[in-house]
Amino acid sequence: MSKFVVCSVIFPAIIISLFPWKNEPCHCLLQGLLSILRKLKSTPDQEVRILLLGLDNGGKTTLLKQLASEDISHITPTQGFNIKSVQSQGFKLNVWDIGGQRKIRPYWRNYFENTDVLIYVIDSADRKRFEETGQELAELLDEEKLSGVPVLIFANKQDLLTAAPASEIAEGLNLHTIRDRMWQIQSCSALTGEGIQEGMNWVCKSVNSKKK
């Protein structure tokens, strides 16, 4: 940021002092840049609290690392939680990735407060656990502290041949019966990054419309 300020303010200033006869257009340029800078300064990024939940081995940590553009090849099961802040579309997204193993699911509720958007991650290839993941999601949607919170469901692991398509998962989870909040299902692959941007665009859009 500071480098940007130095370049954008001082550089035109030098040009003005070196070429006084070219003063006018440069002066306008300087004014314009200054006003942009002022605007940038006056609206700090709005903070958004995002909760990342789902069963173990769903791909939450891989997704988190993809969002933060970090290496995803050394991931280990999450004991406890991970948190990362990511800048996106004028938002500061504080993403909480909470471990998904059954043993620590009772702790999920400790992280519900002030959540702006819930992202629920499903392993689309793990058909044996569709029922379990559906139950967990249903319980989350019943939580009072999460009432009205927009929910994005990532149908993850679409890179696997055995992955169920998002439409099938939506049907299985009876998503169309959700009436009390905005929701969206997005197929993605946290491994390749496919579909993640689309999902995050929806997240930012739902925060914006909630604000209004």
Binding site: N57, H74, T76, Q79, G80, Q101, R102, K103, I104, Y107
Partner: protein, 297 residues
């Protein structure tokens, strides 16, 4: 800033002048002075490694890339290049040999560890399956596993009903470490497991173990483990030495966790980072040697 300039001047100019001056006054080259005058272990090997790396001589730099089998040949080449008669300085030759074995061995160990990490745990591979079942038998000698896919795996700290999804980015390396600990320190690993299964102060033994494998792996990769291996293995470090270091981490982390009494498992990463920093501080000591020492505890 000043430090950077100084460092630049030192490495590009002063170091070579100083070396020349010392060579003329003592009649020995830098490597000779290191290998005859330094304390064997990390102090000597790290200095020798730096000297070889920053050498302008290709023969010296190439010695760092060699394999265990060719170290002897490279030692002879260096002696020839530096015009040192082997019988005139026996100590130098022997020490240089050890240094090169340690340096090149460390790099080879990393390659070997990386291969195991990349090998995915495969349920169709009978060898992989046998190792997993052996881990259960070693940790739970009195309890029989009811079936291959069962909630019982949770009793030794896997997440779900099938451990295969828990090895993730650590692959077979994670399982090998867990197994080595149980095979070679059976009593200690059971003690760690029973403490990890504490209803309030506990953690998931196996997945924390896989997490600690990641710690050991990243320390190896960054080169931070060099002083430890240079001090504790007087030759090329091998896979079993890496497993030994994992055992140290698994045992010490448990002691650390119990002593810190964290509020809940949800604070794991915060304590993991604290423990990681303690280990990194130990590794900065030139005399470091981190081995599991159960007798003292």
């Amino acid at each position: 800033m000043i430090r950077r300039i100084w460092q630049y001047i030192y490495t590009s100019l002063l170091r070579s002048w100083l070396k020349w001056l010392l060579r003329k006054s003592t009649g020995t080259c830098e490597l000779q002075r290191i290998c005859s005058g330094s304390k064997p272990g990390a102090t000597m090997t790290k200095k020798a490694e730096y000297s070889l790396q920053s050498s302008k001589n290709k023969v010296l730099r190439e010695a760092l890339e060699t394999s265990k089998e060719n170290v002897e040949k490279h030692v002879d080449q260096i002696l020839k290049e530096k015009e040192i008669k082997p019988h005139s300085d026996q100590l130098f030759k022997a020490n240089l040999h050890i240094c090169l074995l340690q340096i090149t061995g460390y790099n080879q160990l990393y390659v070997c560890v990386e291969d195991l990490r990349k090998e995915v745990f495969n349920s169709d591979n009978p060898k992989h399956e046998a190792m997993l079942l052996k881990l259960w038998d070693l940790l739970m000698p009195t309890v029989k596993l009811e079936s291959r896919v069962t909630k019982q795996w949770g009793d030794i700290g896997f997440q779900g009903e099938d451990p295969k999804t828990d090895f993730r980015g650590m692959g077979l390396l994670g399982l090998l470490n867990l197994l080595f600990f149980s095979e070679n320190y059976t009593a200690e690993s059971r003690q760690v497991l029973s403490r990890a299964n504490h209803p309030k102060l506990g953690y998931s033994y196996a997945i924390v173990g896989i997490n600690l494998t990641e710690m050991a792996y990243s320390l190896l990769k960054s080169g931070a483990l060099k002083p430890h291996f240079y001090n504790s293995v007087p030759g090329p470090p091998e896979l079993k030495d890496f497993h030994q270091f994992y055992c140290y981490l698994a045992y010490e982390f448990n002691k650390f966790w119990v002593a810190e009494e964290p509020e809940s498992i949800m604070h794991f990463n915060q304590y993991r980072e604290k423990f990681h920093n303690i280990v990194k501080t130990h590794l900065q000591d030139p005399d470091v040697s981190l081995t599991l020492n159960a007798a003292c505890n």
